[in-house]
């Protein structure tokens, strides 16, 4: 394939590294299946979606536990969807501002701020949410720790990801396109809408996808602000528990079937992520061909 030795060496190395990355994912899935097997076998997969509630601890004491994951699945989906819906327009707008409207110095400073924001640990966001954001929401509508608080915290956390990655994909739009648009006498906004955004769409979709992944997986910050009550929320002011928060709250204290049931929630999370990636691929691919 390649004639030079160094190229062949690089190929081998890259193959190894990719295999390693793939193996890690496969091993995690296998581990999850093994750990959740006792619960899947003795409880049965169906009951994780049909039981009346989530009270797994009594199973460890010999009683019949209840294992419904649906409220937490909805909690995860709702908080992620809310955050992505808020962060996507804001992030793209901020990327456009940075790339096309802001004076150079402001754009640079702004970008540094966003980069700083990506580096803040989630527990810091969580603490801020618990001490500042949740009490503010409570004044409006108790109890404060709620789906809304979770959505807002997640939005702040994924906003820089959307903004920075979108901007880099805006930057990679070929200069010739911009010159062409200028030659046609298009206004700045018409250029952005008609030329830049369509050309950068792939990169922006990737940015949103990565942000979605981060929002789904985020644990600590959501755990601290979302209230963690296992229920299907009726409004944004109701507390919710996400799948990740469920694992973090209970794993250290769980035994036997309860513990295994928590690994089932991890497995469900993994399947949800896979479905999401598949969906994104399908949407992205469909548009690409059109």
């Amino acid at each position: 394939m390649f004639r030079s030795t160094s190229d062949r060496l690089l190929l081998g190395l890259l193959r190894c590294v990719s295999a390693l990355a793939a193996a890690v994912v496969m091993l995690i899935v296998i581990f999850l299946v093994i750990e959740s097997w006792p619960a899947l076998r003795s409880v049965g997969p169906l009951r994780f979606f049909t039981d009346p509630s989530w009270h797994p601890a009594s199973a460890a004491g010999g009683g019949a536990g209840r294992f419904n994951l649906i409220p937490m699945l909805i909690g995860t989906l709702a908080s992620t969807a809310g955050a992505v819906m808020l962060a996507t327009p804001l992030g793209i707008a901020s990327a456009l501002f940075c790339r096309f409207y802001a004076p150079k110095r402001i754009a640079t400073g702004y970008r540094r701020l966003l980069e700083l924001l990506t580096g803040i640990p989630s527990v810091v966001f969580g603490l801020w949410g618990l001490l500042v954001l949740a009490p503010l929401i409570r004044q409006w509508h108790p109890p404060g720790q709620s789906l809304l608080a979770g959505v807002l915290i997640l939005t702040v956390m994924i906003l820089p990801t959307v903004a920075l990655l979108s901007e880099s994909s805006l930057n990679s739009v070929p200069r010739a396109y911009l010159r062409g648009a200028a030659a046609l006498g298009l206004s700045r906004w018409a250029t952005i809408r008609g030329v830049v955004l369509p050309a950068a769409r792939g990169g922006i979709v990737t940015a949103v996808l990565l942000a979605t992944g981060r929002a789904i997986g985020e644990t600590m910050a959501v755990l601290m602000v979302a209230g963690n009550v296992v229920q299907v929320p009726h409004s944004v002011f109701d507390p919710v528990r996400t799948l990740t928060a469920n694992i973090a709250l209970e794993l250290g204290y769980a035994m036997d079937i309860h513990r295994s049931a928590l690994f089932v929630s991890g497995l469900v999370l993994m399947m949800m992520l896979a479905a999401l990636i598949g969906l994104a691929e399908w949407i992205g691919g469909g548009r690409m061909n059109a």
Partner: protein, 283 residues
């Protein structure tokens, strides 16, 4: 990007190097002649673990050839690990249940659980039936118990915690019956939640709560059946919602484990127990 590979490789080498260095060159501590040597593993309750860790540190400084590893994971883990032998000693922040009688418990301190409110909440006392009604959702507004017209934020603990078990046991409740507004993980999260919500009610360890009150955190402990939640009342056994902090062993106990347990129950560690706001026991 050109130097990315080099950096990664360097980090890998540095990591391996540090590992080998830190594990390869452990100097054997001198033998003081007391014969105690080896390793102990303690697992279990996150309430007991910080205290056990402090006691272990002091024990290690007295017996340099002993290493003690303290891991948390809840009382149920402590019980299971002691039973399976994965840990030499288990830790549990509750008394043993009848079906756990295969284990031997060694109480090292006492702790109580107190109902806490925000400092500015005017409610002065709640009866047990009122607390039950609040936690089951029958009373949802503070004006039903003589407080201001504001909805009650009910703070409950996540499943599996011994604080929750003790609370449920005392009030004869089932977790299924509780209508919580917020579910929390550890004591600290509970205290932060209640300190930031004037209309919240929750329950935490008296030790932790007294420490936070002494630091000026905006929480207040509520008397139960007219008895003040204080370390003194836990000590003399009058406070109704209290629990022993136990070390657990199963079957044959090694000489080292027995020595550690005796040390943990001796007056030599009373200052450590008090520093953690628990009540030392008198042998």
């Amino acid at each position: 990007m050109k130097y990315g590979w080099v950096a990664v490789l360097l980090l890998l080498f540095a990591g391996t190097g540090t590992y080998v260095w830190s594990h390869g060159s452990q100097v054997e501590p001198p033998d003081l002649g007391d014969g105690l040597r080896g390793q102990l593993v303690l697992t279990g309750s996150s309430t007991v673990a910080p205290l056990a860790g402090e006691i272990a540190k002091r024990f290690e400084s007295l017996h340099p050839r002993v290493r003690i590893d303290v891991q948390t994971g809840g009382s149920s883990r402590g019980i299971a690990d002691a039973r399976r032998g994965t840990a030499d000693i288990g830790m549990a922040s509750r008394a043993l249940k009848p079906k756990e009688s295969d284990l031997v418990h060694h109480t090292i301190a006492l702790d109580g659980i107190s109902i806490i409110l925000h400092r500015d909440n005017p409610a002065t006392a709640l009866t047990d039936p009122q607390i039950v009604a609040i936690y089951t959702g029958q009373i949802a507004n503070w004006n039903q118990v003589g407080g201001p017209d504001a909805p009650i934020t009910v703070v409950n603990k996540a499943e599996g915690r011994s604080t929750l078990e003790l609370f449920l046991h005392h009030f004869k409740l089932k977790n299924q019956d509780i209508h919580a507004s917020i579910v929390i993980g550890d004591n600290q999260q509970g205290i932060l939640t209640i300190a930031s919500d004037p209309y919240a009610i929750g329950y935490v360890s008296i030790g932790t709560a007294s420490y936070e009150v002494s630091r000026g955190t905006k929480i207040r402990m509520l008397p139960m059946k007219g008895i003040e939640p204080s370390l003194d009342n836990v000590r003399n056994g009058t406070f109704p919602l209290s629990r022993p902090l136990n070390l657990l062993t199963h079957g044959e106990v090694s000489e080292l484990a027995a020595a550690f347990i005796a040390f943990a129950q001796s007056p030599q560690v009373h200052d450590l127990v008090e520093a953690q706001y628990f009540v030392p026991i008198d042998q």
